[in-house]
């Protein structure tokens, strides 16, 4: 009996308006089976492969919709686009999210989705859903009959396994539905291109603004499955799988690329040779214990990358790394990244920085790595902690583990601000009254210091070794001013473990933002020089 399609599937009996100048094409790898392959302009006369869409001239905004549950693994060649999209009108290749090819289904059981969880419990033993199918929960996405645009669905997920009444996804559910009794829409596997042993790749070289959504791309090319150079492309709901020995996922030297809901399996590295800004969100990187495998390989060079809500597992080498010969590394910001890797250090040529927020998926565990050489097992420079809290102070401390070294690692006052370690920066909205800002510090142990950090500027130095500063507008003049604390012997770490305050008084000329910062620049002694800072400023 055909199950009644509930109101969560919206059918529109008219064409949605399309971007002017853009044409919609259709691709079905299995069209030859029913002798319907054609010129690609209708779902009833689809192209038989990606090449027919990609490797001819296309206009900005053109979109190709690919039938799910099909695979193209023979007669494969490198994919070589030759056209450009634009920022607001990219050229799109997307799997079918609208049931255009009429091969979706609705779940026989109902489910209880839980936000942030990979598992959903079914109302009865699960039928009709298998690993690698995709699902979305009713209400999270919508299907549009004869849609000629990209379906905006963000919350479709790949099924990792089915066992009894438990459905497990590869990525945690982030949709809006909750509670029991939810229908699932079941979508076939993503369309597969190539095999994990096929030596072919996507070569997106100087082809601007392509957007790939819902593709399962495989290959064994030593220069990665996708080589993207100056393409400004974006990737969503992508599966990348390699031969697990010598290949990698992305080789990208493009600025501002965006990766969302990516699953990578089995390769030497997910990213090779990253060289510009990139954002990764909601990804599962599984190196499958490939020998010397990485999230970002050790010879990459990057400016700034942002990684959030990503799981990195079974990568056996230094899974996050950045080193290069001539230029300094950039900054990597990790939010909610969990991993089970065996790596022992983060590598990076100074002044590479790594910031971890909610590290290991532990809420509130925030740390930074700064001024570290490669293979330094003491990678952490600062980390949040709730130990040794100050009576009457804030709920959290920062624990500082100063880096050692005197060359390109370590810290000093000699090259402000680059040679200084920034402890914190707070934007504070304030009025024009005079206020005193105080931060509190204490040593981890009296043995941690043989000489106290200088809290007053010494001759030949630009700044003290431990200080706070505020930056603000002094009046109608547009230039901001900087005022530092500069009081001699403000701390005595060698004599006790008391909390010591360091203060600076500031009076802006205009109401507005004042920036309060803390810095540390004492070259590390033979002892640890580790200390605490109360993260909460005292304002009086």
């Amino acid at each position: 009996m055909t199950k009644y399609i509930s109101i969560f599937i919206a059918f529109l009996c008219f064409f949605l308006p399309q971007q002017s100048g853009a044409t919609t094409y259709y691709i079905a790898y299995d069209c030859a089976d029913t002798s319907i392959c054609g010129n690609g302009t209708a779902s009833t006369t689809p192209f038989s492969g990606l090449d027919e869409f990609v490797e001819v001239a296309r206009s900005a905004g053109d979109i190709a919709i690919v039938k799910r549950g099909t695979a193209s693994t023979t007669n494969i060649s490198d994919i070589l686009p030759t056209s450009d999209g634009t920022l607001n009108n990219p050229i799109i290749i997307t799997a079918d999210y609208d049931n255009i090819f009429n091969n979706f289904a609705t779940s026989s059981q109902t489910y209880t989705p839980v936000q942030g969880s990979k598992t959903m419990e079914a109302s009865a033993s699960i039928t009709g859903i298998a690993a690698n199918d995709w699902i979305y929960v009713a209400g999270d996405c919508y299907e549009t009959y004869n849609n000629t645009n990209k379906n905006p669905c963000e919350y479709a997920y790949e099924v990792a396994s089915v066992s009894g009444t438990t459905l497990t996804l590869y990525l945690p559910y982030k949709g809006s539905q909750s509670g029991s009794g939810k229908d699932l829409r079941v979508l076939p596997d993503l369309p597969v291109w190539n095999s994990t042993t096929g030596d072919f790749q996507w070569f997106i070289n100087q082809d601007h603004y392509w957007h790939l959504k819902g593709l399962d791309l495989r290959g064994t090319d030593a220069n990665c499955v996708i080589l993207s150079s100056n393409s400004y492309s974006s990737f969503e709901d992508i599966i990348l799988q390699t031969d697990g020995t010598s290949s990698c996922g992305f080789n990208t030297s493009s600025p501002n690329e965006y990766f969302s809901k990516i699953r990578f399996f089995g390769g030497v590295s997910f990213i090779s040779a990253l060289s510009n800004q990139a954002q990764f969100k909601d990804a599962l990187i599984d190196c499958n214990n490939t020998s010397s495998s990485y999230f970002i390989n050790d010879s990459s060079w990057f400016e700034t990358i942002y990684v959030s809500a990503t799981e990195i597992i079974n990568c056996t080498g230094t899974s996050i790394g950045s080193s290069l010969g001539n230029n300094g590394g950039g900054g990597a910001y990790f939010n909610g990244v969990s991993h089970n890797n065996t790596y022992t250090s983060l590598s990076g040529a100074s002044p590479t920085k790594f910031f971890f927020e909610d590290n290991y998926n532990v809420i509130g565990l925030n740390s930074q790595t700064d001024h570290r050489i490669s293979d330094n097992t003491l990678a952490t420079t600062t980390v949040s902690t709730t130990t040794q809290l100050r009576t009457g102070g804030g709920p959290k401390n920062l624990y500082i583990i100063p880096p050692d070294g005197t060359g390109n690692t370590g810290i000093s006052t000699k090259n402000y601000p680059r040679s200084n370690l920034k402890l914190f920066e707070y934007p504070i909205y304030t009025d024009t009254s005079s206020k005193t800002y105080t931060m509190y510090f204490r040593t981890s142990a009296t043995s941690a210091f043989t000489i106290n950090p200088l809290t007053q500027t010494a001759t030949g130095s630009t700044t003290p070794e431990l200080y706070i500063e505020c930056e603000y507008y002094p009046g109608s003049d547009a230039d901001r001013v900087l005022k530092r604390s500069n009081t001699a012997s403000a701390v005595s770490f060698t004599s006790d473990t008391n909390w010591y305050g360091i203060s600076v008084t500031c009076q802006p000329g205009n109401a507005g933002l004042l920036y309060l910062r803390g810095w540390y620049a004492k070259p590390r002694e033979a002892v640890s020089n580790e200390f605490y800072m109360d993260l909460t400023p005292e304002i009086s």
Binding site: S59, F203, Q206, S291, S299
Partner: protein, 170 residues
């Protein structure tokens, strides 16, 4: 004429960068086509369903693309060893790669092949765009509407056989 001149200039530039002109085009350039043959040939890239305004945009975009590709790929010819060095750096992280020299050469050749193929394809596309635009200008083919959706007068459509009426879909 202008378009032919531009194409010739591009050919000369490609020759100067080491690109083999004799390898450049397939049969579409070395053989002359009739208008009817061109009217059919352009369908290989779905240019028949693009409005005239979009075709003009595509022509500008692909012309700029061609120049950009030539410029950024000069290093392949000006300094092959530079390219091979980068490739080697990339490969050396893989302890499993054997015959590194052979792999580096193969990858360099691969990039060279990709470059040649891209140039050839873009030029072929430009040639097809030029001819489709020419056929429309000469009235050999007639689009049934423009980019904004304004339909062509039936009297104008009727000037050509149905097979030469372009059903615009953009």
């Amino acid at each position: 004429m202008k378009n032919t001149l531009i194409s010739l200039i591009v050919l000369l530039l490609l020759g100067g960068t080491g690109y083999s002109v004799s390898q450049q085009f397939g049969a579409s350039f070395s053989e002359s086509k009739t208008d009817a043959e061109w009217a059919e040939d352009v369908k290989a890239e779905n240019l028949d369903i693009k409005s005239t305004e979009v075709l003009e945009e595509m022509k500008a975009s692909h012309t700029a693309k061609l120049q950009r590709l030539i410029e950024t790929s000069k290093i392949l010819f000006d300094c092959p060893e530079c390219v091979k060095y980068e490739i080697r750096q990339n490969f050396e992280r893989y302890s499993e790669i054997r015959n590194l020299d052979v792999m580096v050469e193969a990858e360099y050749q691969n990039q060279l092949d990709h470059y040649h193929l891209s140039i050839e394809k873009i030029n072929q596309s430009l040639e097809r765009m030029d001819n489709e635009l020419r056929l429309r200008e000469e009235g050999f083919v007639v689009p049934d509407k423009n980019r904004e959706g304004t339909k062509t007068q039936q009297a104008d459509l009727d000037k050509v056989d149905e097979q030469y009426q372009r059903k615009i879909n953009d």
